[in-house]
Amino acid sequence: MNERTRAGVIFTYVCAALVVAVCLFPFLWMALSSIKVLRELYTIPPVWIPTVPTLENYRTVLFDSNIPRYFLNSVIISVGSTTLALSIAIFAAYGFARFRFRGKAYYQSFILIGQLLPTAAIIVPLFVTLRYLGLVNTYLGLILVYMIITLPLSVWMLTSYFRAIPVELEEAAIIDGSSRLGVLFRVTLPLSIPGIIAVLVYSFITTWNEFIFALTFATDSSVKTLPIGLAEFTTEFDTDWGAVMAASMIMTIPIAVLFLSMQRLFIGGMTAGATKG
C-alpha cells in the first residue's frame, strides 16, 4: 500500500466521514428532536442541541396516546408469529437438511417463492378470506398471515444451519437406538441454539417492522401494531413532531437491543467455529 498517495488517504477519510454522517445523522436528529421542547422544534435557525432537554414528548406518547397499547399488540403478534413459525420450520428444515425425497428441490423453491412474493398482490384475497373466517382485527389473523413472512425465512435459515452440523453425531445417536425425532430434539436442536436464536431475532424484527399486512388486517385500535400507530401520528394535519420522534425512539429501542445482542452472538459463533478449526 506504500504507493498509495496522500490524496488517496485523505479521500478515504472524507468518504468514511460522509458515510458516517449520512447513516448516523437522521438517527441523531430523531433522538435530539424527541427531547426538544415545542419552541425549539419549530424555529429557524434550528436549535442543534436542546438547551432545555425535556421528557415531555415521551410523557405524551406513553400516557396520552395509544402507543403503549400498540406496543403490546406488536409484542404479542411478533412473538406469536415468530414462535409458531419456528416450531413448524424446525421440522421442515430438518426434513430438507437430512433426507432425500422426490420433488425436494421443487418444495424448496416453493418455500423460497413464498419469501419473495409481492405481498401487495395477495392482500385482497387474504382480506376476503380472513373476513370470511372472522379473523380480521384479531391477533390470530395477523399471527397467521405473518407466517407468510416468517416461515419461509425460518425454514431457509435453519436448513442451512442443520446441514452444517456433522451428520456423524446423529448417526451415533441412531446406532444407540434413538428415533429420528429423538435425534432431532436431543442432538440437532441443542447444537443449533445459536442458529435458532438468530432465526427468532430475524423473524421478530421483520414482523415488528411489517407495515402493509398490519395496515390491511388490523384496522381496529385493539389490535393495531406500532408501525400503523406511528404512521397515524402524521396523517393528521397538525403533526406533533416531538411526539412522533419520541414514539419512533420507543419503537427502535427493542430492535436496537435485539440487533446488538445478535451481533455479539454471531461474532461468538464465528470465533467458536474458528477455534474448532
Binding site: M1, R4, G8, V9, T12, A16, V19, V20, C23, L24, P26, W29, S33, Y42, T43, I44, P45, P46, I88, A92, Y94, G95, F96, R98, F101, S109, I111, I113, G114, L116, P118, A120, A121, I123, V124, P125, L126, F127, V128, T129, L144, V145, I148, P152, V155, R180, N209, F211, I212, P227, L230, A231, T234, T235, W241, M245, S248, M251, T252, F259
Partner: protein, 286 residues
C-alpha cells in the same frame, strides 16, 4: 398406498401452511379477477376497467421510476461503500457498525424521521440548503410534484444501500489476495484494481443483490404510504399502493384483484430470473 418419505413428512406441516397462505390466495385472486360481486364470470372486464383507469399508467410509470432510481443508486452507492469499508483505515470497525444503522432502523421510523427532516418550514435539510445560499428559498420537498419522488427514492436508497454494502463487502473479503498482488506487479493503480480485479470478482454477488433489490422495491409500500399515501396528485402512486387503495378505499375488490394478477405476473418473471441466477451460482460453487 406408497409410503411417504420421512423427509417429506417432516416438511409437510410447513408446506401445508404455506399452500394455504400463499398458493390458495393466488388462485383466489385469479378467480376474483374474472368475476363480479355476485360471483358471475365476467371474462376480462375487470382487466379492461383497470387498464382504462387514468391512474394505472401513471402508477406504472411511477413504479418504473421508483424501482429504477432506487435500485441503481442503491447498488452504486452500496458497492462504493463496500469498497471503502474494505480499505484499511483507522476507525474502520466503527464506521462499519455505523453504516448498518439505516438498515437496522425500522422502515417506518426511517420514513418519519426523513419526513421531519424534509419538512418545508422547519426541516433541517431546507435549513442546510438555504443557510449557505445553495437554494434561495425553502423547497417543498414532500408537497411539490417534482421533488416528492426523488425524495422518496433518496429515503429508500438511504435505507438499503447498507444492505448492498454488507453483501458486497462479504464478497470482497473472499477475493484471494494474490489477485491484487498480481495486478500490482503489473503496475495497476487503485482504480485499475477496482475496475479490473474487484468488480469482476464480486459481479455474481452484485447481480443477486440487484435482483433482490428489484423485488423489494416492487413490494415496498411503507416509506411512500406513511409519508404521502401516493400523493400529491398521484405523483408517488406506485402499483402496490394503487392495489391497496383500489381495494380498501374505492372498495373495488375485483378490479384490485385484476391489477394484482398483472402485478404478480410481472414480479414473478423477476423472481424466476433471481432463482435461476441463484441456483446457477450454487451449482458453480459445488
Amino acid at each position: 398406498m406408497t409410503r411417504i418419505s420421512p423427509g417429506l413428512l417432516f416438511a409437510l406441516p410447513a408446506l401445508i401452511v404455506l399452500t394455504m397462505l400463499v398458493a390458495y390466495p393466488i388462485m383466489y385472486t385469479a378467480l376474483l379477477s374474472v368475476t363480479d360481486q355476485q360471483g358471475n364470470l365476467v371474462g376480462l372486464q375487470n382487466f379492461q376497467r383497470v387498464m382504462q383507469a387514468r391512474t394505472t399508467p401513471v402508477a406504472f410509470y411511477n413504479t418504473l421510476v421508483w424501482v429504477g432510481g432506487s435500485v441503481v443508486l442503491q447498488v452504486v452507492l452500496g458497492t462504493a461503500t463496500a469498497i471503502l469499508l474494505n480499505e484499511k483505515f483507522a476507525g474502520r470497525a466503527i464506521v462499519r457498525s455505523i453504516a448498518v444503522i439505516p438498515w437496522v432502523i425500522p422502515g417506518i421510523v426511517g420514513a418519519l424521521t426523513w419526513a421531519w427532516m424534509f419538512h418545508t418550514e422547519f426541516g433541517i435539510i431546507n435549513y442546510m440548503l438555504t443557510a449557505p445560499g445553495i437554494v434561495d428559498e425553502p423547497v417543498g420537498w414532500l408537497v411539490s410534484r417534482n421533488t416528492v419522488m426523488p425524495a422518496m427514492i433518496a429515503i429508500n436508497v438511504w435505507k438499503l444501500f447498507p444492505f448492498v454494502a454488507i453483501m458486497v463487502l462479504a464478497g470482497l473479503q473472499a477475493i484471494p489476495k494474490d489477485l491484487y498482488e498480481a495486478a500490482r506487479v503489473d503496475g495497476a493503480g487503485f482504480w485499475d484494481e477496482v475496475w479490473h480485479v474487484t468488480l469482476p470478482q464480486v459481479r455474481p454477488v452484485i447481480v443477486a443483490v440487484t435482483l433482490l433489490l428489484v423485488i423489494w422495491a416492487l413490494n415496498h409500500i411503507t416509506t411512500i404510504f406513511a409519508i404521502t399515501r401516493g400523493g400529491p396528485a398521484n405523483s408517488t402512486l406506485i402499483t402496490p399502493i394503487q392495489i391497496f387503495r383500489l381495494a380498501f378505499e374505492s372498495v373495488q375488490f375485483h378490479q384490485a384483484a385484476a391489477l394484482s394478477v398483472m402485478f404478480f405476473a410481472a414480479t414473478m418473471v423477476i423472481v424466476a430470473v433471481y432463482i435461476k441466477v441463484l441456483s446457477a451460482k450454487e451449482e458453480k460453487s459445488l
